[in-house]
């Protein structure tokens, strides 16, 4: 947290910061997710760049006070470009002992620690496994800037005259914390006040209560003696335009809506609920007006095959899940490969193997996307880099699937899915067109006739007179599509399916290199690690190191210029939230001695650790 003294304004000293990392932590029932989201909106209004990291347990509402029941929301906001939710915390709000126990280790020495003393009673301390109250330990106050606040008491006080029961009153205390932290970081309260107004329109008492408590928290900061100063973060330099907060799953859903509108072809989304993919289905279900049809299937196999059935019918079939569900779709995806039908597959990666860590993030499904099926079954694989990028990648996936008549994987992850960023709203007109041509011409028609440029076969909508035909999963003769057991035809078709996917390289723009075009080290990333990697690389660059980075959106086929680029650097580092998957692909493909940086902790990579890995690899500046 680099600080620059600034003239005191208002009654208390106000310091300029260029960035801050805050985490709200409490019980699953304490409303930490909401608090964090509201603080995010306030910071967006304030014109800061930001990145968020919601983090909650797999249990729905784990019993109060338990360690595994702790839920947290972290964000980093700043006047400079913000790539990640941040590694270490400038400020931690710990609403109960369990939250303190779980999260304290991430707070910087000298960091701001705000606790709700009311929650530090015997019962909660026991549940958190403290045999003494940590707040009484002087070491805590020495190490951190500790602020003990009886939030519960102050909350009750603020609304004692309102006709609410204790439970209801208690539910508002998170807004006290929000008000207080908003004051500390000089956030505008308007967006939250608006939200309260809308949310409790039908329930004036709640509106009143939350408003009062929010303001009480804010006033407390201003008046209470304990806070000697507070902070100011100037708006960030960001491209001009209209912005909105965007999460990855919503962006994927909206990307499909855009594709449906532009292609004028209906989209059928088949899914079976699974964390962290469910919210895509839920978001799409709210937009029936876009002629998007959602099927909550009986399982993932039905979800995938229903999508394939829709594609056979001339709609764009899309299916989405997370790792375990994708594993079940393998056979079905193989059918789409050989039937040569468009199919978009969203894989919102989560911690594994098996059920693993359902609510945590991971990047370990790349190999599954490439190879998780029987036999030679090539598909296109794309990966978004940020929450907002999910919008463009979903759109692109539909465009490619329809143009090349093949399955296209989109590898998102739990971090992108739930994380949000200020997103510059695009003009839909600027999106590339999706021209879908359904064949109706009888003359010379064959089901597996190929387009010379894309090698894709004609897409015929059932209902087209004179083009009645039959397809299936048995190997078929090229062009005619008739069943064929001929050895040479099979070899030909295997190569044809592979070549068709390779042709998608035509669609890939030149790779953007962040840094020198040649040098000591190239850091290669993909997917949700974009922020962590970029932050680390820019830091290394600012140290004067000869380091560049590229972030792959196209994982299959790989960019045509990739092989050349890799050879321009002495070393190649591939950070991934897995045991080294892309790195294996690059080594096999280009025979470069790329090394991996791998942490599989269910969390985004810490840019600090990536930075250290970079230094380790290339040593001190040349």
């Amino acid at each position: 947290m680099s600080e620059t003294a600034a003239p005191a304004t208002g009654t208390k000293a106000r310091r300029e910061l260029d960035r801050a990392v805050i985490r709200f932590a409490g019980d699953s029932g304490d409303g930490m997710q909401l608090t964090g989201e509201q603080f995010t909106t306030e910071s967006a209004w304030a014109g800061n760049d930001l990145a968020t990291l919601p983090n909650f347990p797999a249990e729905i509402r784990a019993p109060a006070g338990t360690l595994f029941g702790v839920s947290s929301f972290q964000l980093q906001f700043g006047s400079l470009r913000v790539y990640t939710p941040g590694d270490r915390l400038d400020c931690l709000v710990a609403m109960n002992p369990a939250a303190l126990k779980v999260h304290l280790r991430d707070l910087k020495t000298g960091g701001l620690l705000i606790v709700n003393t009311a929650a530090y009673d015997k019962r909660n301390l026991d549940k958190a496994g403290y045999n003494a109250n940590p707040l009484d330990d002087p070491a805590l106050a020495e190490r951190y800037r500790l602020h003990k606040v009886d939030m519960t008491g102050l909350t009750y006080e603020a609304i004692k005259d309102l006709p609410l029961n204790t439970k209801e009153k208690d539910r508002t205390k998170n807004f006290f914390a929000l008000g207080l932290v908003s004051w500390i970081y000089t956030r505008p309260l308007e967006p939250t006040l608006d939200w309260i107004g809308k949310k409790f329109a039908k329930n004036p008492q709640f509106a009143e209560a939350n408003t009062r408590v929010l303001k009480a928290g804010h006033a407390y900061g201003e008046t209470a003696e304990i806070f000697s100063e507070h902070y100011q973060i100037e708006p960030a330099e960001m491209a001009a335009g209209v912005y909105r907060a965007m999460t990855g799953n919503r962006a994927l859903a909206w990307g499909l809506l855009a594709a449906a509108e532009r292609s004028k072809v209906p989209i059928v989304y088949g899914a079976y609920p699974i964390t962290p993919a469910s919210s895509i289905l839920e978001e799409l279900a709210m937009h029936k007006r876009f002629r998007i049809r959602t099927i909550q299937a009986e399982d993932e196999i039905a979800a995938a095959t229903a999508a394939i059935g829709a594609s056979f019918g001339g709609a764009i079939g899309v299916t989405g899940s997370s790792g375990p569900g994708i594993a079940l779709k393998g056979e079905a995806i193989g059918l789409a490969v050989t039937a040569e039908l468009p199919l978009v597959i969203f894989d919102i990666q989560r911690g594994g193997p098996s059920t693993g860590l359902p609510t945590k993030t991971e990047q370990a499904d790349l190999m599954q996307a490439l190879y998780g099926r029987n036999s030679e079954s090539p598909v296109v694989v794309l990966a978004p880099a940020t929450p907002g990028d999910c919008f463009y990648v979903a759109y692109e996936a539909v465009r490619i699937a329809a143009k090349y008549m093949c399955p296209v994987f989109v590898l998102s992850d739990g971090f992108l899915a739930n994380g949000s960023e200020p997103w510059l709203i695009p003009d839909p007109e600027t999106l590339p067109p999706i021209d879908i041509h359904f064949r109706t011409e009888k003359e010379g028609f064959f089901p597996y006739l190929r387009d010379p440029a894309t090698l894709s076969r004609p897409w015929v909508r059932p209902g087209t007179p004179g083009l009645e035909h039959r397809i299936g999963g048995i190997e078929k003769q090229d062009v005619t599509g008739n069943i064929s057991y001929d050895p040479d035809n099979h070899d030909h078709m295997v190569r044809m399916r592979a070549e068709k996917v390779r042709r998608v390289a035509q669609e890939i723009p030149p790779t953007t290199i962040n840094g020198p075009a040649t040098g000591d080290l190239l850091v290669v990333g993909w997917g949700g690690t974009y922020g962590s990697i970029t932050a680390a690389v820019e830091r290394a660059q600012s140290d004067g190191r000869s380091v560049a980075s590229i972030h792959l959106r196209h994982l299959n086929p790989l960019p045509p210029d990739l092989g050349h680029i890799l050879r321009e650097y002495r070393k190649v580092l591939v950070p991934e939230i897995n045991s080294g998957q892309l790195v294996r692909v690059l080594r096999a493909e280009y025979l470069v001695d790329a090394v991996g940086f791998n942490r599989v902790r269910g969390l985004p990579l810490a840019s600090e650790e990536i930075y250290e890995a970079i230094i380790q690899l290339i040593g001190s500046p040349a």
Binding site: A44, W45, G47, P235, M238, A239, A240, G241, V242, Y243, R244, A245, W254, L257, A258, E261, V268, G270, H287, K288, R289, R291, R293, I295, A297, E298, I301, A302, A303, T305, A306, I308, G309, A310, G313, G314, A315, G317, E331, A332, G334, L335, A339, D427, P428, R461, P462, G463, T464, P465, G466, L467, E468, H469, R470, I471, G472, G473, I474, I483
Partner: protein, 344 residues
Amino acid sequence: MSAQGAGAAATPAPKYTKKDFESDQDVRWCPGCGDYAILSAVQKSMPDLGIPRENIVFISGIGCSSRFPYYMNTYGFHTIHGRAPAIATGLRVARPDLKVFLVTGDGDGLSIGGNHMLHVLRRNVNITILLFNNRIYGLTKGQYSPTSELGKVTKSTPMGSADRPVNPLAFALGCGATFVARTVDRNIAHMDEMLKRAAGHRGTGFLEILQNCNVYNDLAWNVMYDKESRALHELRLQHGKPLIFGPPDARKAVIMDGVLPKVVDAGSVPESALWIHDERNVNAAKLLAGLFAPDFPVPIGVLEEIEAPIYEDVMLQQEQRAISERGPGSIAKLLTSGDTWKIG
């Protein structure tokens, strides 16, 4: 949508003959297979649908039976094992204007595909299901299937199978099917009639066709093939008619004795005591599904036909309503809706 529930086009369908529905592909079943008779019956029934050929789609899974679509000169999709119901559901949701037939087997539809069968039936998706029940896995060369009798000796069960068979009709009814019927591959006339009835149903039409696999399970349904046995056991269900069966000289009736079906001499009971078949009575259908030789007759015909909401219809009505109430979606509008802020 037409009486067929789907597929009828604005312009009336041309006058077709059976030939119009025969594809140019060689039929690859074993000589003597019951599938031939079914194929011919289905091809023959197509013209009567009054649906343009291009609006008809045959979906199947995997199995001898599932090769069916290749032989129909309509649109067709030979998919993967057991998943045809889900594929057909997706197709109907995308294209409610098409008439969709689903061809499956006792393994494809009730073993690996059992779950999709359950859900397509309860959703009442508007498709016609033809389940070829030969009580064996044909294509994989003769292992026992979920409809094989307990103790069945096959390649995979040299000492006899250890599991009790599932009754396709009882299963379908237990899943909430809205149309359930049974016919026999060697009873062409009855098969024709049942194909029409099943195809005409609005919702999921579930038709079990007793089919002979002469290579791996020959005469599994001899009770319905053998002239004498058939005369003794065939119970033709007809709406509004009493449950009477058996040879002219020894007519028998099925009646309810409290909560138990019972076989009696037709003559021995008063008109009033007879069980009059009512296709709309789901409870009765469940009792009928349980009847089988030797103690009871073997019912063929329509056990049940009821009206119920159709999955894709409800879904489309919701879409219509959403659009009529709030207008068609616009991505430009959506992107700028809700909380936004301007920079620069």
